[in-house]
């Protein structure tokens, strides 16, 4: 029964948002969950992207952490655009548009009175430089540090949780390197 529900085809449909709700409910009810879901998921994802880099983890609709053949783990969009080392916030390699006024907000909100107070916050949109997909949105006060949404502990995940360590395992893969990037930028100032 679980094998039928969690077929590779159903995982693909789930990823595409096309799995029938009745089938999704069966997945939700699975307890415990299917142990090999992650591997099926990777197979499905790998078949959907036009490039060959090995996907290590999917972190958003369009974004993946991939292993580069020459070494390194980088964030990559399904269009092929790369965002550098996954330990630095990928948003700092996007294109950025900031909505600062009520008028600009009304392009994406619908009720004027339900727009946030633009004297206090701004809305940041982060686009992929390659395909211009909207990858991230933040509503924050001016000057707020760009939010690093997720830094996975990949080696613990692969080695301890999945039992299949990555070849390039090393301790410093689980370190936030974002400030190193801005430090480099500051040197150019």
């Amino acid at each position: 029964m679980p094998e039928e529900i969690v077929s590779k085809e159903n995982v693909r449909l789930l990823v595409e948002g096309k799995l029938a709700w009745e089938e999704v409910k069966k997945l939700i009810r699975l307890s415990p969950k299917d142990e090999d879901r992650f591997w099926k998921y990777l197979e499905v994802l790998q078949q959907r992207v036009p490039w060959k880099d090995k996907i290590l983890l999917r972190i958003s609709d369009h974004l993946y952490i991939v292993a580069k053949k020459g070494g390194g783990r980088v964030v990559k969009c399904d269009c092929g655009q790369e965002f550098g080392d996954y330990r630095a916030n990928w948003k700092l390699n996007c294109r950025v548009y900031v909505r600062k006024t009520r008028e600009e907000m009304m392009e994406v909100f619908s009720i004027e009175e339900a727009v946030p107070d633009m004297d206090l916050v701004e809305l940041r949109e982060f686009y992929c430089p390659g395909c211009l997909a909207q990858l991230g949105v933040e509503i924050v006060p001016r000057g707020y540090p760009v939010v690093f949404e997720m830094l996975p502990d990949l080696d613990t995940f692969y080695q301890e949780w999945l039992g299949k360590p990555l070849e390039d395992e090393q301790p410093d893969w689980f370190q936030d390197k974002t400030l190193e990037l801005t430090s480099e930028w500051a040197k150019e100032e």
Partner: protein, 726 residues
Amino acid sequence: MGICYQGKTFKEVVEERDRLFKETGYCYGLEKLELAEEDPARFMRFQLRLVSACVNARETAKLITANPMGLLMGELIFMLANPEGDCISASFGLYGHIQCFPYIIKSIAELDFEDDPGIREGDIFATNDPMYGAPHNIDNYTWVPVFHNGELIAWSVGINHILDVGALQPSTLSSVSPNTFTDGFMYPPMKTGDNFRQHKWWELFWKRRTRAEEFNIMDDKMRVAGAVAIHDRVLEIVEEFGVDYFRKGLKEIVERERRHLLQRIKAQSVPGIYNYLKFDRVKYKGMVGKLFASANRDWMLHIPVELHILPDGRIFLDMEGLTTEDEFHCNIYEPGLRMTASMGMWPMFAHTKTINTGLRYINDWNLPPGSMFNPQDEYAATIMGLTNASKTMFAFFNCFTHAYFARGFLEEGFPQEGGSMAYGMEGILDDGYDWTGGDMLLIASTGSNACPYKDGVVALWAFPNPASDMGETEASEFTQPTNLNIGRKLIPNYCGHGRYRGALGMGITQVVLDPGRKLTQAAFIGESGVGNTAIGMAGGYPGQCDLVYFGHDTNMREILDGGLPYPTDFVQIKEWIKEGKLKVGSSELYNLATPNVDCKDGDIFAVAAGAKGGWGDPLEREFSLVENDLHYGWVTPDVAERVYGAVADKEGKVKVKESEELRQKMRNRRKERSVDAKEWWRKERGKVLRKEFSEDVYNMYADCLQYEKFRRQFTGIWQLPGDYKL
């Protein structure tokens, strides 16, 4: 000789519980679950008997209350705890409170209640004081000890959200309070009855210190009745299973739950660090005046949550950088924080057949002393700190959605935002009848955010209470005789847009009729006009803000008396005013909880709340989903075109070629008006260096930069000089 097993004192067993966990890593030091492993079927039967005792207590006792929030919405819960205070089983209802009760029991142990006032068969205890474990004083706890042959073997407890707690503002969610003395009726743990009956003085307190005294007295009776019902049922269960089995079984239930939850997290998520962020706003300027001069200001609140999923499956939450405690209603203590945070944990990974405090043992928090979630001022106001602390629950919804998404369990993705409403009222009718009422039924069933694979669902659920529904208008009007409901509906376009769309927010509209001598209304909304969340999901937009509208001196009487159509939501009210059909002398609009507002006959009151966020890039929304939205009127053609790049014909059919061209133009426009992040960073850095912040934002940064971690992040991102100061 103590009252607990083997003559130990109550205080000793509580201390032993904490010591054993610290030393062994197992609840009660239980490396082996002997009862559960020896005979799992018997053990499950035992556990379900305990659960059914709680469910039975709730479903019968709640019939005593007259408070519609209790009776219909189910804002109550009954629980069974062991002597140490761990909740072993619970009814349906306000399940967050399972996390609080252990703190209350620990408090009375530390206060040495066994010595004074004593703990005996038939005693009744009560508290609503956050300093001793309650989340806020509107949530009232009543509990009784369960003795077997002179040994304390358990506690049975009832808790509910009452109708008014005698605070500055009427009803349930008063949101103006500079200190604990303006929080209303607050009582530390105390013995309020014996021989299973409350004392008369206790009833007098409700009469004198709260507005809705009749409701509150009935609620108190309900809590006692339920707690006593569990007490009696527990003794039957002890009779059936034996006291040794009962005593040991309670401990095994908690430890088994702890292991189960860790296993589930490891099986479904990905270890790492996830960030959630929320800003809130408080506006006291001009409201509390000279009386509370140092509170007469506005605040921008900073609520960062860094959620770590650790290698062993436990969770650590770091909230360093949180706004400092202050003279506002937003402070809360750790028990209350854990209570509301757990409401994100139960749905995301802690939902089991028989939930209990096993959850408490797998999460740890860093709450900096002096921050608003760890206040050091014993007079800090706490009446609605729950609103701001509740944002931590969304950290679990959103961060675990990322983790499940990464692992491939998209079906478990369930990101959420706040957004809800309630209101309190007090008045004096023409005949001199003094009344208090209010409602929070609309929050009983809000929509949900978009998931990683589908749109949000309208009118789906209530995050505080899984047993609630939309409530009954008639019941609402029972507690608010002056306000007639004329609208209750979903508002088109009122959502967060995305590849998958968030659920539409809801609106209610009321007209004030025959208010008598006086009517004061204060509305509460869950969000405060600075974004429902700071981080959209996968490129989707957060939901639109909540709002409250009061229209005074209107012609609503004439409209109703003439049998004419009338506006039924906020958007329509605006249109009707514009068209001249609705006349309004003056109006008030709020994007956060309101002050007390005096209302007169014919005034109109409208709220829009609970618009939920989207998932993914709106330009990738399937045309068929847009057509569906147009068909049901959930999205209008202009929004479909402007936000989704979908051009529809008069029948609501999307013109594919035209739409694809429009989407391409919209992507091109993204390219034209965006800049490279590095260029943006350079300009923003200049503004930060020049300290170009609005007053409230400046004050927020000045406060948060006192905390080393936030300072490191802030100065690091912008590469600021070491002596940067605000």
